[in-house]
Symmetry: C2
Subunit: 321 residues, 2 copies
DNA sequence: TTGTACGCGTTATCAA
DNA sequence: TTGATAACGCGTACAA
């Protein structure tokens, strides 16, 4: 492998001059530049980027943590992050954690070791003390409401959105409202849970634990939701479904099981994915690709100031309410 | 940032000894080891991994090229790759190319610059000369049939699978068979096209260009397939659908448009994703996660020998044929 | 406008 | 069993 010194020798100049040409610095004469360029071509020279990184203390690599990638929610976030990374000449290191803390810690370690310049966490399992421990080593950006904490984020106010959707159903006459959710824990889940309870309290509605459907993530999970509802003596009349895939699965299954939507069961999905449009599902639009973009921009933002970016949501009215 | 020299000074030993402790080399006395470990703890020392990379000429980073990630096919491959990377203490650099050649070249460049040890290409746009140009710089693994070429791969024999599925439909009495496909070009597409034409020839069946549906990738695309079929004077009686998502979309749309499946239209999906199970779709199982695993293993395989790994497929009979 | 010399943090070699 | 020192390849003060 030919290195910068070889090129310098070939061109009859110093390594500095070669480096300047490489990095497009000013103050290098046309003639020398030409010789250097020629030498580079002749030798098929290629910078060893690791040496650059060592020298600069920067890698132009940003880590992205997701629990799993085979779900539209994370795939869309990832897409947005990747698009913006490309624009800014950064590359991404992909961490699939499956919500195992040890895997998340590996990402933190890479930040500490300076192999990545920043870390974006799309969904986490680690607790705050852990995250704060690694904060000094580089920007850590979260995709959840971190207001009040010393940590940057791009997020949707899930409390507000949930209240909004619930009130919408209430005004449509629904009094027996439930919701489905992907995981039991997590900040977003907690905010939604709070919103749900506050909503019930405000309207003097009873809390039915049966109306909360946990661990539903994919299209095919919709079937089980319908199964459970079929067996209930006093089923909900409306469901907030946190994810259009699941909503689509519910609509499909309901159809086969002769549950009429929206008459027997009203559905509001989340995200406004293409599948929601095709199946005419009323949904709360969450611009995941755009959120991904913002997350990335925060990750490479200069300066140490913490920023919170709330992304507004929008109700898309279609045929399932 | 404290470095290895600081630690050495603190422990009263040489950097060599510290390095030995760090890398668990033999020939270091218990006492010195203890002192070093203590100094490491005291100083909160952390290796600078870039220096390690420079010194070793290796990064334990593998690149993964996908056109986009928001599709189950690539998400599942990625999942398998990521799982295996974790097992082997490698990290992944994620390249989303959107089938733009310039983006693919960036991945090749990183290989050349030694920022990644190997490159896995799940689907490509670049042509063979380009790939071969970068071959000397590190392992490049493809997810397509590369037999006859000097390039390693894990792949499904799509020619064979297509013939198999077509014959299956033929024996069920179908004579008007079409297929849907995600993209117009690409090795896998070409093999399928060849299989389709050979099948028609072998059975003296006419070639209807209408029966080939290009650019259908997602659930919501199923609607358009059904629309087109509705408008055909002489519609196909069976469809090979390269992707269960699209198959599910077709089944759903057909239901709403009063096309009976399998009576009016038989469907064979591909991949055997969970959605196919839920919707009772007959499908060709392709173990994408397992393919991902194998791709990764080939990427880090020692030695320069080229290997071809064919992954067998299996028909899962359900209710859409 | 150009070049020398040093620093980045680690591993590997070889002598002790 | 230990340590001094030479790579690794590049960027950049600083001097000229």
């Amino acid at each position: 492998m030919t290195n910068i010194r070889d090129v310098a020798k070939m061109a009859g100049v110093s390594v500095t001059t070669v480096s300047r040409v490489l990095n497009k610095h000013p103050y290098v004469s046309k003639e020398k530049k030409a010789v250097v360029l020629e030498a580079i071509k002749q030798s098929n020279y290629q910078q060893n980027i690791n040496a650059v990184h060592l020298s600069m203390g920067k890698t132009f690599l940003v880590g992205v943590v997701v629990p799993f990638i085979d779900h539209p929610y994370f795939a869309l976030l990832m897409k947005g992050i990747a698009n913006e990374a490309l624009e800014n000449n950064y590359k991404l290191v992909f961490f699939q954690t499956n919500y195992e803390e040890a895997r998340e810690v590996e990402a933190f370690q890479m930040l500490k070791q300076k192999q990545i310049d920043a870390l974006i966490i799309c969904s986490r399992i680690s607790c705050w003390p852990t995250i704060e421990e690694y904060k000094p080593y580089g920007p850590i950006i979260l995709c959840e409401d971190t207001r009040g904490r010393n940590m940057s984020s791009t997020f949707v106010d899930h409390y507000k959105s949930f209240i909004f959707a619930l009130e919408y159903l209430y005004h449509k006459g629904h009094r027996k409202i439930g919701y489905t959710i992907g995981r039991k824990t997590g900040t977003n889940t907690r905010f939604r849970e709070m919103a749900y309870k506050d909503f019930l309290n405000n309207h003097n509605l009873p809390y039915e634990s049966d109306y909360i459907f946990e661990h539903y993530l994919h299209f095919e999970d919709g079937e089980q939701v319908i199964e459970r509802i079929k067996q209930m003596a006093n089923p909900p009349s409306a469901l907030l479904v946190t994810g259009d895939e699941v909503a689509a699965g519910i609509v499909t299954s309901a159809h086969y099981r002769n549950i009429s939507i929206p008459d027997d069961l009203a559905i509001i999905g989340f995200n406004n994915q293409p599948i929601a449009k095709m199946m005419n599902i009323t949904t709360i639009e969450i611009p995941l690709v755009e959120i991904g973009r913002q997350l990335f921009l925060q990750a490479i933002q200069e300066g140490k100031d913490v920023t919170y970016q709330e992304i507004p949501i929008k109700l898309i009215e279609r045929k399932t309410v």
